[in-house]
Amino acid sequence: MNRRIALFATLALGLTACGGGGAGSSPVVVPPPPPPPVTKAEAFQFLNQASFGATEAEADRVMSMGIDAWIDEQMRLPMSLQMPHMRTLPKQPFSMFQLQKDRVDIFFRNALHGSDVLRQRVAFALSEIMVTSDKGALVDFPYSLADYYDVLTRHAFGNYRDLIEEVTLHPAMGVYLSMLGNEKPDPANNIRPDENYARELMQLFSIGLVELNLDGTARLDAQNQPIPTYDQSVIEGFAHVFTGWTYAGVGDFHAQWPPEASQYTPMQLWSQYHDNGTKTLLHGVVLPAGQTGAQDLDAALDNIFQHANVGPFISRALIQRLVTSNPSPDYVSRVATVFNDNGSGVKGDLGAVVKAILTDAEARPAVVSDTDGKIKEPLLRILQLWRAYDARSDGGRYPIDYLWVFFGQGPLQAPHVFNFFAPTFSPPGEFRSRGLVAPELEIATEYLNSFSSNFMLWQIFYWTWNAERPSDNNDITDDTILIDYAEEMAIAGDVDALIDRVDGKLLGGTMSGMLRQQISTMVSQMPADQPQLRAAEVIYLVVTSPEFVYQR
C-alpha cells in the first residue's frame, strides 16, 4: 500500500507538472489517471470484503480492472434472485420443509455460481441487520423468506428509505415481528397495539438506542451519560402507526394460512383496523389524527429516515459486516457523510455507501495495526473454500439447510432478531481489556469451533471429487457438496509447489512463514504416494488456521 500511494502521488505530481509545462502552448487533454495497480494480496483482501470469498479468477479481474471499475461493473450486473427459482418448483407435494431446503439451495447456487458477488455479499450483510429467520413462525413461509431475501438483494445498492419501506410492508417481517394483524386499541378489553416491530425497527434496523455523533460514537449529556433516542411513548406512537396491515388478498384480517401469493405480496391495509388518533414520534413530531394508514406509515418512516443516527448507525453496521469489527470514528464519519449525501444531494444511497466503505483507506490500510480487519464469518469461511475449490454436487443442488448446526450460521437462519451475534460482543481477555469488539467470536464457541473444524475435515478429506468413493458410502448423496483439488494432487510430490498452490488459492499468497513451516514439516513426513491425503492436509491446515479465519 505504501508503494501504491507513493505511485499514485508520483502520477498526480507528474500530471501537474505536465499541465504546467504545457501552459501557453497547445491545450493538453489530461487523461484520467490509470487505476492504481492492485497486488494479488490486495485483491484477495478486497474480495474477502466484497464477495463470498476471494477466488484467483476474480482476483485477476480486480487486478486488471482496478477496484473502482470492478465495483462499478458489479453494480451493473444482473441480480441473482431467489424467487424466479422458487416459482419453478412443483407445487405438489406441498411441503414447507422441502421448500425451505429449496430456498437454501438457491441461496448457495447464487453464492457459488452467481457473478454479482458484491451485491450478494451486501444482501447477506443486510440480512444480518434487518433480520428475519426460518427459526420461528416463518418456518412455514419459505416463499416469504425467499422474496424477503430478494428485497434485500434488489435494494443492496438502492436507497435505504425505499428498502426500509419494503422491509416494513413485507409479510415476512410482518409475521416475524408481528406487525401483521396488529390492530388499533380496544380499551374495553385492555388491548393495545403490538410494540414488537416499532421497537426493533428503531433499535436494530435504523437508529439504535442512543443518540450518535456522525462518527458513530455516543453523544453524551451534561452528566456524561448517553442520551436515549426514544422512550416508551415513542414506541407506542410507532406501534399505533403500524396498525391495520395484514396479508394482501385475504378475506379475513386475522387470516392464519394465507394463499401462496400473499407470502410475497406487500401487506395490505384494512382501514377499519388502523388507529386514527394522533401519534407521537421521534423529535416530538406528532402525526395528526385522521390520516390513512399509508399516510401514517410514510410519515413515520420519513421521521426515522430524518434522524441523524441513521447514517452513522447503518454505516457502522455495514463496515462491521464487510471490513472491520473496530472501525475508527473517522472511518464511520467518512462513510456516514456519504450516507447523508452521496455527492448529488441524495441521502441513503446504499450503493454509494458500499463503495465508500470498500474504497476507504481503512479498508486496505497502508500500515496494518493489530485491530484492523475482523474474524471471517463462519459461513463465509466455508463459502470461500467452496468457491476456491470449484465445489458442486452430483445433482447440482445444494439444499443444505443444516449448516447452522456446524457453523452457527445459515441464510436467514438466525436464532432471533438480534442476529447470530451482537455487534457489541467483546470476548473476555484482550479484546475486553482494550475496549474492542469481535462480533463473530460470539459464535466461535469451543463447541462450534470444534464442530466447524470437524466439518472442514469431512469436507476436505472425504467430500471431494478426488477421494475414492466406495459405493456403500452413504455419507455422500446427490446433494453433497464436493470440492475438487485434482490440481493440487498432481503436484503433491513437490511439497513447496503444493503449499504455494494452496496459499495462492486460499490466502492470495500471504501465508506466514510459521504456517508454511508447520505444513511443510508435516507433509514432508507423509508418503509421497498419497497425493490425495497430502493435498487434503495442506488445505485443511490452511482453512482451520487462525490466519485464514482472520479477514485482514
Binding site: N189, N190, L209, G373, G429
Partner: protein
C-alpha cells in the same frame, strides 16, 4: 495478597457511578473455610429467552386477586378452575381456597412446591434502587437503562450492571472470586450448554461452552490413518499455539486451544461409570437434553474434582407477541417437564441439596394484551428449585395485577418490588460468596435493606 488484589480489581470493574463505594473490608475468607471448600455446590441458571409471561405461570387464586388478574388479562387469563392450586407456608389458605395456582401444565412443579423443593420469587426484576411509580415518573431514582428492550434487559439480569459499563456477568464475577479456592477443578467453574452468554463472562476466568448433549470433540482423521493422525494433530495444535500479530487471530486461536483441551476432559467425564449410571428419564426437548447433560456432568463431579460450578442452560420462544394462548402452554410444559426430571436426577445422584436451579428471563410481560399476545414489560416471577431451597413459599411481594395500579408504569408493566441483585445475592451467598463480597456479585445490593431474601437454607 493475591486475593486482595483480585477483589479490589473486581470491585473496580463493577463500580457503577450510581452505587456507593463498597465499604473497605478488604480480605474475607470464603464461607467454605480457609482456602478450600469442603463440599460440592452447583447453581443451574435456566434462561428463558424472550421474556417469560410469568404472571400466567404463578397466578393468584383468591377471589379479589383473581378477579383483578382476570379483568386485566381478559382473553389471556387462565380460568381459575384450571389453575393447579398451591398453598405457601406463609399464607396457606384453606383446602379449596388455596391463594395461588400454577399454570395447568406445571403439575410436576406443583408437587415439588408442595413438598418444599420449589420456591418462587415474585415481582422481581432489574432495579438500581427501590423504585416507586412516582419516582419512576419523576426520574428521581436511577433506573436500569433501556427498560423493555430484550437484549438490554437480558444483559441486566446477566450482569446486574445497572448503569455501569461493566462487561462481566454475575456468575463470571463469582468465578473470579472463588477460582483460587478451587485450584484442582478439571473443568471451568462456568459451563454453558446454551451458547456464549454475558452471565458467565468474567475478567479472569473463561467459561466453557459445550452443546446441549455435551462437548463436540475434535476429530483427527480416521482410525485407519493412525500414523498420519499423530502428525496431523501435532501440526494442527502447533498452528493453534503459534504467536499471532492480529488480535483476531489470537482470539480465535485461544478458543481453539480451550476447545481441544476441555472437550477431551469433559467427554471423558461423561463416559465415567458415575455419569453413565444416571437413569432418570428426561424429556427429549431442548431444555431436557441440556439438563440431562448437566446431570451427568454433576454425577462425574468427583472425577473432575469439582467443588463449585455454575451451569447455564436455556430455551427460547418466550417472546409471545403473537398467539400466546397456543404457544405458552407448550413453553411452560417444557419447563415443568425438564425441571422435574432434573430434580429427580439430582435425587438419584444424591446431590439434591447441593444443586440449586433457578430461572432468569428478560422481563415479565404486559398484563394488557395486543390482541393475541403480550409485549415487553419489567418485573416477573422467578422459580428456584432444589433440596437446599426453603421451598413451599413465595418470596418478595406478589403484586395486585391491576392496570393503572401503583405498581404499573403503564399497560400493566409491573415495577419490581424485589431486585434481581437481591435474588442473585441470595443464591451467591449459598454458593459460598462471603457476605462482604456480595456487592461484587450484585453491586446494587447496597441500596436494598434486605440482603438475603431467605429462600435458601443457610
Amino acid at each position: 495478597m493475591k486475593t486482595i488484589d483480585r477483589r479490589q480489581f473486581l470491585r473496580q470493574s463493577v463500580a457503577a457511578a450510581a452505587i456507593a463505594a463498597t465499604p473497605g473490608a478488604a480480605y474475607t475468607q470464603m464461607a467454605g473455610g480457609s482456602g478450600a471448600f469442603d463440599d460440592y455446590r452447583a447453581l443451574v441458571c435456566v434462561f428463558l429467552h424472550g421474556g417469560n409471561d410469568s404472571f400466567n405461570m404463578l397466578v393468584p387464586r383468591s377471589t379479589a386477586e383473581y378477579n383483578a388478574y382476570a379483568t386485566s388479562r381478559q382473553n389471556l387469563a387462565i380460568p381459575r378452575d384450571d389453575l393447579l392450586p398451591i398453598n405457601p407456608l406463609s399464607q396457606p389458605g384453606t383446602p379449596g381456597n388455596e391463594p395461588f395456582g400454577l399454570h395447568p401444565t406445571m403439575g410436576g412443579l406443583q408437587a415439588l412446591f408442595q413438598s418444599g423443593q420449589v420456591a418462587f420469587v415474585s415481582n422481581v426484576g432489574p432495579l438500581i434502587e427501590p423504585t416507586s411509580l412516582d419516582q419512576y415518573r419523576n426520574k428521581s431514582v436511577l433506573l436500569p437503562p433501556q427498560l423493555f428492550s430484550h437484549n438490554d434487559q437480558q444483559d441486566q439480569w446477566a450482569s446486574l450492571k445497572g448503569r455501569s459499563t461493566s462487561k462481566t456477568g454475575w456468575a463470571g464475577r463469582m468465578a473470579d472470586l472463588i477460582r483460587a479456592e478451587v485450584p484442582n477443578q478439571q473443568m471451568a467453574i462456568n459451563a454453558s450448554l446454551h451458547g456464549s452468554n454475558l452471565f458467565q463472562s468474567a475478567e479472569q476466568t473463561f467459561p466453557y461452552v459445550m452443546g446441549a448433549g455435551g462437548p463436540q470433540e475434535f476429530q483427527w482423521l480416521g482410525w485407519w490413518l493412525q500414523d498420519q493422525q499423530i502428525r496431523h494433530r501435532a501440526a494442527f495444535e502447533a498452528i493453534v499455539d503459534a504467536r499471532y500479530d492480529s488480535i483476531y487471530e489470537r482470539g480465535f486461536a485461544e478458543i481453539q486451544r480451550r476447545a481441544i483441551d476441555a472437550a477431551a476432559t469433559v467427554t471423558a467425564a461423561m463416559a465415567t461409570p458415575e455419569a453413565q449410571a444416571v437413569t432418570t428419564p428426561f424429556p427429549r426437548t431442548e431444555l431436557g437434553t441440556q439438563l440431562n447433560t448437566v446431570a451427568r456432568i454433576i454425577a462425574a463431579r468427583n472425577y473432575l474434582q469439582m467443588q463449585r460450578q455454575v451451569f447455564f442452560v436455556g430455551m427460547g420462544g418466550f417472546d409471545t407477541h403473537d398467539d400466546q394462548e397456543t404457544v405458552q402452554p407448550r413453553l411452560l410444559m417444557d419447563i415443568n417437564d425438564a425441571l422435574a426430571a432434573f430434580h429427580a436426577a439430582t435425587v438419584e445422584v444424591g446431590v439434591a441439596s447441593s444443586v440449586t436451579t433457578f430461572t432468569q428471563s428478560d422481563f415479565g410481560r404486559t398484563l394488557t394484551s395486543n390482541g393475541d399476545g403480550t409485549d415487553h414489560a419489567w418485573a416477573g416471577n422467578q422459580l428456584v428449585l432444589g433440596g437446599a431451597v426453603n421451598g413451599r413459599d413465595i418470596y418478595g411481594s406478589y403484586p395486585v395485577l391491576e392496570i393503572g395500579s401503583a405498581e404499573d408504569v403503564g399497560g400493566g408493566r409491573m415495577i419490581p418490588s424485589t431486585s434481581a441483585d437481591q435474588f442473585a445475592a441470595t443464591l451467591a451467598k449459598w454458593f459460598g460468596v462471603a457476605d462482604s463480597d456480595l456487592e461484587i456479585v450484585a453491586p446494587s445490593l447496597t441500596n436494598f435493606a434486605q440482603r438475603d431474601l431467605g429462600f435458601m437454607i443457610a
